[in-house]
C-alpha cells in the first residue's frame, strides 16, 4: 500500500547528504592521526587532510554528477549504455565484491577495538558476528530504512565528536603544534594519500542515487555531506596533535580513542569517556557497514534480479564474516585495509571519472 508519497522507496537529497557523511565517517578516524602524522612534520597533517579531503570532495562530486545524470537508473543500466553490457556486469559485480570487503573490514575493526576498549575476555569472532548480525537485520529490511537510519544516528555521533573536541580543550597545548609548515611537499602528498583512504566510501552513491527523487540536487548534497567529515577529521587531527604531540601520537594505534581517554567529565559524572565515545561511534561504523553491504546487495540483485533480497543477504553474510575474520592479526588487517583503500580508489575515483568522461564525450544522458 502506498498512502504517503514519502513512505515508499524514494529518498530525498537530505538522505544522500547524511548517507555520504555517515559512510565516510567510520573507523578511519581512529587511526588517521597516526598515519597522517607519520608522513608529515609537526602539526602539518591538517594540510594533508584538507588536500586529501579536496580530492575526495572532487570525486564525490563526480560520482554524484555521473549517477544523477541518469535519474532512476541503476549502476548496471547506465554503465551498460556507456560501456556495453558485459563490461557493465563485470564492473557491477566487482563493485559489489569491493563493498562486501569494505563491510567485512569495518566489522573486523569494530571487533578488534571493542575487544581492546570494552571487554577483553569475549573472543573477536563473537563480537564481530554479533555486529554483523545486526547489520544483516538492517540490510534484510528495506534500503530506504538503511538510509533513514543515518538521519537518526549521525546527529548523535557528531554530538559525541564535538563533545570529545570540547572536553579536550583543557589539555590542548599549542606548543605541541610546532613546528609549522616544515614538511616537504612529498610528505604532504604522502599524508594526503593516507587521508584519501579514510575518506573513501562515497562510492555507495553509485548505487543509491538511483533511489533519489530529485537527482539534480544530489551533487550539492554529496559535496556538503563530504565536507562534514573533512572538517571533523581536520579538527580531530589538530586536537590530537595538540594533546599528545606528534612523537607520542604516531606511537599510538588508535590515537583518537586515546584522547577520549584523557577526558575528565566535569563533575566526575562518569569516568572513562573513551568507552562511551567508542560505544556511540559504533553507530556510525554500523551505518558505514550496513550502507555498503546494502549497496552490494542492490548491485548483485541488479545483475541477478531473480534472487530474493533476503536470500541474497543470507548467502553473502557468511562470505563477509569469513573474509572479515581471515586476517590473523591486527597488522595483517591493516594491510587488508590498505588494499581495500586501493580498490576504493579504483571504484570511487577512477571508474566514475572515466565513465563520466565517456558520457560527456559521447553526450549520453539518461531520460530525466
Amino acid at each position: 500500500m502506498k498512502s504517503f508519497e514519502y513512505g515508499d522507496g524514494e529518498i530525498g537529497s537530505r538522505e544522500i547528504l547524511y548517507a555520504v557523511s555517515s559512510v565516510v565517517i567510520g573507523v578511519g578516524i581512529f587511526t588517521l592521526p597516526r598515519t597522517v602524522g607519520s608522513a608529515t612534520m609537526g602539526s602539518d597533517g591538517w594540510v594533508s587532510i584538507l588536500l586529501g579531503g579536496l580530492v575526495a570532495l572532487l570525486f564525490a562530486w563526480i560520482v554524484a554528477k555521473l549517477a544523477s545524470r541518469f535519474p532512476r537508473q541503476t549502476f548496471l543500466e547506465y554503465t551498460a549504455t556507456l560501456v556495453s553490457r558485459p563490461v557493465a556486469i563485470v564492473l557491477t559485480l566487482l563493485l559489489a565484491i569491493h563493498l562486501m570487503q569494505f563491510t567485512a573490514y569495518e566489522m573486523r575493526v569494530v571487533a578488534n577495538i571493542s575487544k581492546i576498549y570494552l571487554f577483553d575476555r569475549t573472543p573477536v569472532e563473537v563480537i564481530g558476528l554479533l555486529f554483523l548480525l545486526v547489520v544483516v537485520y538492517a540490510v534484510a529490511n528495506s534500503s530506504v530504512g538503511l538510509l533513514r537510519l543515518n538521519l537518526l544516528f549521525l546527529p548523535i555521533v557528531l554530538f559525541a565528536a564535538i563533545l570529545l573536541l570540547l572536553m579536550n580543550i583543557g589539555y590542548f597545548e599549542p606548543e605541541n603544534l610546532k613546528p609549522v609548515f616544515s614538511t616537504k611537499w612529498t610528505g604532504y602528498i604522502q599524508g594526503a594519500k593516507e587521508t584519501v583512504f579514510a575518506f573513501l566510501g562515497f562510492e555507495i552513491l553509485l548505487i543509491y542515487i538511483a533511489m533519489a527523487n530529485q537527482p539534480e540536487k544530489v551533487p550539492k548534497a554529496a559535496v556538503i555531506g563530504m565536507s562534514i567529515p573533512i572538517l571533523l577529521y581536520s579538527f580531530v587531527f589538530i586536537m590530537v596533535v595538540g594533546v599528545f604531540g606528534r612523537t607520542a601520537m604516531i606511537q599510538l594505534v588508535d590515537p583518537t580513542i586515546e584522547i577520549a581517554k584523557e577526558v575528565e567529565v566535569p563533575g566526575q559524572f562518569f569516568e572513562r569517556f573513551e568507552s562511551l565515545f567508542f560505544t556511540i561511534w559504533i553507530m556510525t561504523i554500523f551505518n558505514t557497514a550496513s550502507l555498503s553491504f546494502g549497496a552490494s546487495v542492490i548491485a548483485i540483485r541488479s545483475v541477478f534480479p531473480k534472487i530474493k533480497r533476503i536470500w541474497l543477504v543470507f548467502i553473502l553474510t557468511p562470505i563477509i564474516y569469513l573474509s572479515g575474520m581471515a586476517p590473523p592479526n591486527l597488522i595483517r588487517n591493516f594491510e587488508v585495509g590498505t588494499w581495500i583503500g586501493y580498490s576504493g580508489v579504483v571504484f570511487a575515483m577512477l571508474i566514475p571519472a572515466i565513465l563520466l568522461g565517456i558520457a560527456k564525450v559521447r553526450g549520453i544522458k539518461g531520460n530525466a
Binding site: M1, S3, Y6, L130, L149, L152, S275, T279, F286
Partner: protein, 522 residues
C-alpha cells in the same frame, strides 16, 4: 451437539410457515401481524426480555403490534410517545380516519409518531437487527411494511474523567461505552460541517457499529481509503473491544510497538483529526483509536498544549529522557557493574561494590529478579480492589524491597535502579507504549548481560532499525525524525509557542495545510 443443533433447525423449519434464508431464518413479512410476531418469537425462542403488544389503533378497527426488547429501549418513550400516541393520536386529529392499512401507515408515520428517528423496513432480517439494537418495530395488520422507531435507551455509565489518562489541566470528560455519546463528544469539540462519521458494522454475530471519523478536506484521502479498506476486511464473530480492531488492521502484528493509539479522551481524538488523522470509535468501549501514529506522537500528551510552551517543552524533554531510561536503565546498570566498572566514578564504584558485598547473584540475575517482581506487583495491583491496591503498593514496594535488601538478596542500588525504571515507564503518556518498553527492558538486560555497552548499543541500533522500517498506515514510524521534516520538529521534542504552529504536520500530507493565519485575525 451437532445433531442437537440439526434437530432444532428441522424443528424450526417445520414450524415456520415461510421461505427461509440460508441460516434457516424466515425473511418474509406477512400482512398478518400475529404470524409475524410468532415468527419473531420462534427465531428468538421467546426470551424473557422480548416485549410484544398487540392493540388497536385509536378508535379504528385496525390492529397493530409493537415489538421491542425490554432493557434496550427507553420504556417511557415507548409508552408515552409510541403506544399512547397511536392509541389516541388518530382519533384526536380532525381528519377523516383512513381506511386502508397503507393509509394508516402513512398517517402514523407522518402525523402520529412523535419520534425523531423513523425508518421503514420490509424484511424480517432488517427488523430483527433493529429490534436487537434497541429500536421498536411497529407492525400493522394488513401491510407488510414495518415502521422502525428509534427508541434506544439503556442504562449507561455517565460521562466520567478518564482513568488511564488523567490530566492536571484539560477537559474532564471521557468516552463512555455508548457510541452515540462518544460521537457527540467529538461533534461538541469540532463544529465543522466537514466532520465525517462513517458507520461500519463489524462482527458477524455481534453486529457492532464502528464509526470512522475524520475531517474531509484535511485528512489525506488515500490514507482514509486505506483505513476503510482495512476495516472492511474485518471478519470476526464478536468485537468486544477496540483492541480487536487495532490488532486486525495494524501494519505489523510482529512488532512490539503500537501503530494505533488507543485513547479515552475526546479532546485527544479531536486534536488528532484536526491534524489529518482518523479516529475509530467502536460501540461498547470507551477506547477510541487514533491512526496513523508515529513514535513521537506516543510521547505527546494533550497537556503539552494546554500549558504554556515552556512547560510543554520541559515536559516533553523529560518524557524523552524517561522513555530512554525506561528501556535502558537496568541494562546500563548491568553493563556498568559487570563489564565496565571503570566507567563509574571511583567513589560511587566503591559504594556500589560495598553495597553488593554479600549479594549472592550476579547483577543480571539480581536485575531480572527485581524487574520481574516489579512486573508482578503491577499486574497484581490492577487485579486488587482499589482500597487494597494501595496497601499492596506499600507492602510490595517498601516491605519486600526493604526485606530483600536486608536479607542480602539484592543490593540497595538495584532497588533504586528498578524503582527509577518503574517511575520512568509511568512517565510515558501512552499505556500501550509503556507496556512495549516493559517488554524491551528484558531484551536490553540480556544484551547488556552478554555484551555490556556493546550489546546495549546494538540493541539501540536494532530498535531504530525496526522503527525506520515499521509503518503506520503508510507513515514510517520514525517520522519526522527520519524521513526528516524539520518543520514538524517544532512540535516534537520541543513544543513551540502556539502561534508558531501555523501549519499542520507536513508528514500527514494533508489537503489543507494552514491551521491559522500568522499573527492572528487582522
Amino acid at each position: 451437539m451437532f445433531r442437537m443443533l440439526g434437530r432444532q433447525l428441522t424443528k424450526k423449519q417445520n414450524q415456520l410457515e415461510t421461505t427461509e434464508d440460508t441460516h434457516g431464518f424466515p425473511i418474509e413479512i406477512f400482512s398478518d401481524i400475529e404470524k409475524n410476531i410468532n415468527n419473531i418469537r420462534k427465531i428468538l425462542e421467546s426470551p424473557s426480555d422480548l416485549t410484544t403488544r398487540i392493540f388497536t389503533i385509536g378508535n379504528t378497527e385496525h390492529r397493530c403490534a409493537i415489538v421491542c426488547i425490554d432493557g434496550l429501549v427507553d420504556s417511557r418513550l415507548v409508552n408515552d410517545k409510541i403506544i399512547k400516541n397511536i392509541q389516541l393520536g388518530i382519533t384526536s386529529s380532525k381528519k377523516s380516519v383512513p381506511s386502508s392499512a397503507e393509509d394508516i401507515l402513512t398517517e402514523l408515520e407522518n402525523g402520529v409518531l412523535s419520534s425523531g428517528e423513523i425508518k421503514k423496513a420490509n424484511t424480517l432480517d432488517d427488523v430483527m437487527l433493529a429490534v436487537l439494537s434497541g429500536d421498536t418495530a411497529l407492525f400493522i395488520q394488513g401491510t407488510d411494511q414495518v415502521i422502525l422507531i428509534g427508541s434506544k435507551g439503556w442504562a449507561t455509565r455517565s460521562v466520567d474523567e478518564p482513568n488511564t489518562e488523567a490530566l492536571v489541566r484539560g477537559p474532564r470528560d471521557g468516552f463512555t461505552e455508548n457510541l452515540r455519546t462518544n460521537t457527540t463528544h467529538i461533534r461538541r469539540h469540532i463544529r465543522d460541517p466537514n466532520l465525517r462519521f462513517e458507520t461500519f458494522t463489524v462482527g458477524r454475530r455481534s453486529k457492532k457499529d464502528l464509526v470512522l471519523t475524520y475531517i474531509d478536506g484535511i485528512a489525506n484521502p488515500d490514507m482514509v481509503g486505506e483505513v476503510k479498506r482495512r476495516i472492511k476486511t474485518i471478519d470476526l464473530d464478536d468485537v468486544p473491544e477496540s483492541g480487536f480492531i487495532e490488532q486486525w488492521i495494524e501494519d505489523s502484528f510482529l512488532s512490539p510497538f503500537p501503530t494505533l493509539s488507543p485513547t479515552e479522551r475526546p479532546d485527544k481524538v479531536s486534536a488528532a483529526i484536526t491534524q489529518g488523522k482518523v479516529g475509530i470509535l467502536l460501540d461498547g468501549t470507551p477506547f477510541a483509536l487514533i491512526a496513523p501514529i508515529t513514535f513521537g506522537n506516543l510521547l505527546q500528551s494533550p497537556e503539552d498544549y494546554y500549558e504554556r510552551w515552556w512547560v510543554g517543552t520541559f515536559l516533553r524533554v523529560l518524557r524523552y529522557l524517561g522513555a530512554f531510561l525506561a528501556v535502558f536503565l537496568p541494562g546500563l546498570y548491568i553493563s556498568l557493574v559487570s563489564y565496565h566498572p571503570g566507567m563509574i566514578p571511583s567513589k560511587l564504584a566503591f559504594s556500589i561494590a560495598a553495597a553488593r558485598e554479600g549479594v549472592p547473584f550476579p547483577a543480571v540475575i539480581e536485575a531480572l529478579l527485581m524487574i520481574t517482581v516489579l512486573e508482578l506487583l503491577r499486574e497484581a495491583g490492577i487485579r486488587l480492589p482499589k482500597p487494597i491496591g494501595q496497601t499492596i503498593g506499600i507492602v510490595g514496594g517498601l516491605v519486600i524491597g526493604e526485606a530483600a535488601v536486608s536479607a542480602g538478596i539484592v543490593s540497595p542500588v538495584m532497588v533504586i535502579v528498578v524503582a527509577l525504571t518503574a517511575i520512568c515507564s509511568f512517565a510515558v503518556p501512552s499505556y500501550s507504549l509503556a507496556i512495549t518498553f516493559r517488554i524491551l527492558i528484558y531484551g536490553m538486560m540480556f544484551l547488556a548481560a552478554g555484551f555490556g555497552l556493546f550489546g546495549l548499543i546494538l540493541g539501540y541500533i536494532m530498535i531504530n532499525i525496526h522503527m525506520v522500517n515499521l509503518k503506520s498506515f503508510g507513515i514510517p514510524y520514525s517520522t519526522p525524525f527520519a524521513p526528516s521534516f524539520y518543520a514538524d520538529w517544532k512540535d516534537l521534542i520541543i513544543r513551540a509557542p502556539i502561534m508558531m504552529l501555523g501549519k499542520r504536520p507536513i508528514m500527514m500530507q494533508v489537503d489543507d495545510e494552514e491551521r491559522m493565519r500568522k499573527g492572528g485575525k487582522s
